[in-house]
Symmetry: C2
Subunit: 218 residues, 2 copies
């Protein structure tokens, strides 16, 4: 366990489980990239307050006009139903993990911390190449070289776990899953139909853990 | 020469020479991180307008409160005289190149471009580890892996050149050096005393090229 670390947190169940595992020796980086599902930021802040963990929000809305695209911050609707390769691709914000991790590493260097964590998991690999172990290793190597005066290592401890594995781990740790947010649609309840809602439901079922989420449509 | 590329540009003589070399098949990324020397952004825009090159400005001032430090965007004064190891270190914005390059790569992915360029050179290596060839190679490798659907290569073609070599090259290419900006102090003329001014003067002298810069103090 690190002395002090930075963790990227979205407010979803994966990154919340990660923060729960690292607490109390962690500071949290939230990223506001103008996501439609603003509720996830609110959930993340509530969880950090509950844990009395310091967080900072990086406002990247100034990048929207030229980088962001697809259904998470653009005009496109998020895909419904089970993720297919095509529908998952529309949720990609180009190079998002590199941008967020670079900022987290910058903050770590400023604080003199040596570890940055994020919650990439095996279910993301097929479509998001920046959630794969080989990306994490290559990126971490670059961060060590690029900050040779204060090298930082990037960790993705869930990279070989499924979302169901994470639910199981979070359940054992006592993570308050009802405080987390997955839905991409952005209303007040989880829609129950979009790709992330379907994935969330399925993870609880596979893990054999009761799902505390209230879905608008079951 | 790439079909279409993104280049990071500061408005200094190194990145201006790079853009001149890549023109017209290049788009330019400027980064506003609240630098004291705002004049460099103005110079960069004027140069892009002169070349009729499209540029975008990434506004990262929202990161200031937790990442930026040192003399370039904080309250500390920039060091005067020749750069020493210590005085150069105060000009470091933590993990700056990774942050800027990640954004440039994101823009490249969005546009379907495959190449990102920046003007790190040999004079930067001693103090800025993220200007060294081994960092560039490691970071580029991570960008290829992390964007496997649209891999991007990061290039630093001046990484083994000195600033004097760049002045020589720029002179041959016809770069209007009088339009470029190096000074970190941030008044209307180059101060002639800060580390970058001293470096700039020296580069022209070593290159045997007339220095068109008007310095406040010679």
């Amino acid at each position: 366990m690190p002395q002090s670390a930075i963790a990227l947190m979205s407010g979803g169940l994966d990154s919340t489980t990660l923060v729960w595992k690292l607490k109390p020796d962690v500071k949290v980086l939230l990223v506001d990239y103008g996501q439609r599902h603003r509720k996830e930021l609110e959930c993340a802040r509530n969880i950090c307050d509950e844990l009395d963990i310091e967080y900072k929000t990086a406002n990247l809305q100034g990048l929207n006009h030229f980088i962001h695209s697809g259904s998470q911050s653009g005009d496109e609707q998020p895909p419904e139903g089970h993720y297919t390769e095509l529908s998952m691709k529309t949720t990609i914000v180009p190079n998002r993990n590199s941008i967020m991790l670079s900022i987290a590493v910058g903050w770590a260097v400023k604080l003199g911390y040596h570890d940055v964590y994020f919650a990439a998991h095996a279910g993301d690999h097929a479509i998001y190449p920046d959630c794969r172990a080989e990306f994490v290793n290559a990126f971490s190597h670059a961060m060590e070289l690029g900050n040779a005066w204060s090298p930082v290592v990037v960790h993705a401890p869930f990279v070989h776990m499924t979302k169901a594995d994470i639910v199981r781990m979070g359940h054992k740790l006592g993570v308050p899953f009802e405080m987390t947010w997955s839905c991409y649609v952005g209303s007040n309840l989880h829609c129950g139909k979009c790709g992330t809602c379907v994935e969330r439901k399925e993870a609880f079922q596979l893990a054999g853990v009761e799902d505390p989420t209230i879905y608008a449509e079951v």
